[in-house]
């Protein structure tokens, strides 16, 4: 407990040191605020633009959340199909990798051209980039079950559904969560990139990506900094939720989420 407190104090100290050297540096070298505003100006921007900031944040969170949720659902379905039919997996798996390597910046304009601007296009872009990590990891988890465990189930005349639900799915949980963790990290980035192109469908309303374009065009550098901070925090929240779910479901039995062994 004491150690945790010590660590927290240290973190606060390091953070404070960073902020003050930033502030002092800006003052000493007289950096113009449109190049690099000090933390005081950024804080002011956060306060004065708070409604817009919050609204952009929520809109991006909405798109990222929808996209990620959709991709979890579809990716798990695809993984189940891949696990069940080996031939199909061999045939289609390369396209999953292709999905991962294709630059999202290149296809975002296409998607907006086809699906129009707005939050659903942004969610679709997020959906696409979140698919591959979950498919790859979940499929791997589903098919990498120890042969002897399968034999054990066969010896008890287990049905294919029993093998799936009592063996393959639980076994795939840790790798599924690895996929979730990766995708949660990129979901917010995907949405922001999407918004750079998709902008806003509702007048005066746009996500972080849209507002970033706006602030950049207006050379409102302090507001831009505020937006960057908001984006980073949103990404962190997504990642943290993923981590928490992983811990919640696995901490009892899986080594990667350690807990104390009761005696």
């Amino acid at each position: 407990m004491n150690r945790k407190l010590w660590f927290a104090l240290n973190s606060v100290f390091v953070f404070g040191l960073l902020l003050s050297s930033w502030q002092i540096g800006v003052m000493i070298f007289k950096v113009p605020p449109y190049m690099l505003p000090g933390p005081d100006l950024v804080a002011k921007a956060i306060v004065s633009r708070f409604p817009t900031l919050l609204q952009s944040l929520l809109l991006t969170a909405e798109a990222a959340g929808m996209g990620l949720a959709g991709s979890i659902f579809v990716a798990v379905l695809i993984s189940l199909i891949f696990a069940q039919w080996r031939g199909l997996r061999r045939l289609l798996y390369p396209y999953t990798i292709l999905l991962q390597t294709v630059p999202i910046v290149a296809i975002a304009p296409l998607i907006i051209m086809w699906a129009g601007a707005g939050v659903y296009s942004v969610a679709l872009i997020t959906f696409i980039i979140c698919l591959a990590p979950i498919i790859a990891n979940t499929t791997q988890g589903l098919i990498s079950v120890d042969e002897n465990l399968v034999h054990l189930f066969v010896m008890h005349n287990a049905s294919p559904l029993q093998v799936l639900f009592k063996l393959r799915l639980p076994h795939a949980m840790p790798s599924f969560f690895v996929g979730i963790r990766v995708s949660a990290g990129i979901a917010v980035i995907g949405s922001i990139v999407g918004e750079l192109f998709a902008g806003s469908s509702r007048v005066g309303e746009g996500g972080l990506g849209y507002t970033i374009t706006y602030a950049s065009n207006q050379s409102e550098t302090d507001f831009l900094f505020a937006l960057v901070i908001a984006a980073a925090m949103l990404g962190f929240v997504f990642f943290f939720i993923g981590m928490f779910l992983e811990w919640y479901f696995l901490h009892n039995w899986h080594e990667s989420s350690r807990s104390d062994i009761p005696e």
Partner: protein, 282 residues
Amino acid sequence: MKTGDPNSRSVEARASQTEVVLIGVSKKFRRGSLALQDISIRVDKHEFVSLLGPSGCGKSTLLRLVSGLTPASSGQLEVMGKSPAAARDQMSFIFQDATLLPWRTVEQNVGLGLELEHEKKETRIAKVAKMLELVGLTAVAQRYPRQLSGGMKMRVSIARALVSRPSLLLLDEPFAALDEMSRDRLNEELLRLYSEQKWTVMFVTHSVAEAVFLSTRIVILAPHPGRVAHVIPIDLPWPRTAETRLTMAYEEQVAQVSRLLRSVQTASLHSPDGQSAEEVQV
């Protein structure tokens, strides 16, 4: 004499109590050479038969054939008068590593088989509790596998196999990963359960001492292709306890079996097939 003594029965009585019979069984894998050739073995009810032999001689394959996990290529194979797959509900298989499901507690692991067979929950819980008591695991019933030692994991694996009251028990090097002390303890425990529950056992091991201690009969297989080289009845007195290991008779049996095993190994070393010789040395 006690009825539990497997050596006290007459030959005629044995004939009517055959549990496993293999006649001229061969196994050839799709890719690869002949794993087993012309195997004929008969295992009677309540016999404890150990399979010994150099690595790669087909011991695991033989157990898998008997359990119906792999089909034989040719020959006749019956378990309790049925095809292996049909006799599955009366067999249990214990693997080299404990193969527990890490997301289930000890209790849930032991109950797995009953659950898969749609046993009612109340009977399941009662049976599992009784079995945990029998193997001394009651205290750790709520633990997860990663919280157990290797020996305890193996004991859970044994409990899981026994809870469905099998008539035939197949064990593939169950104690190979354990230290000698745990192994000896589990051997003694296995024999105690064996004399209580009277299964038929086919037991694969690399340890001559273990095989002699446990078995009523030892079958030594020779490799390339896998075939029966020697069949040795072990007539050490029952019940066998830790004391048995200190007797002269035991020592002599171990020496005799070791000699036969070594002769099989060296014979295969001098086989013209260079690749097989390499495999044996490993």
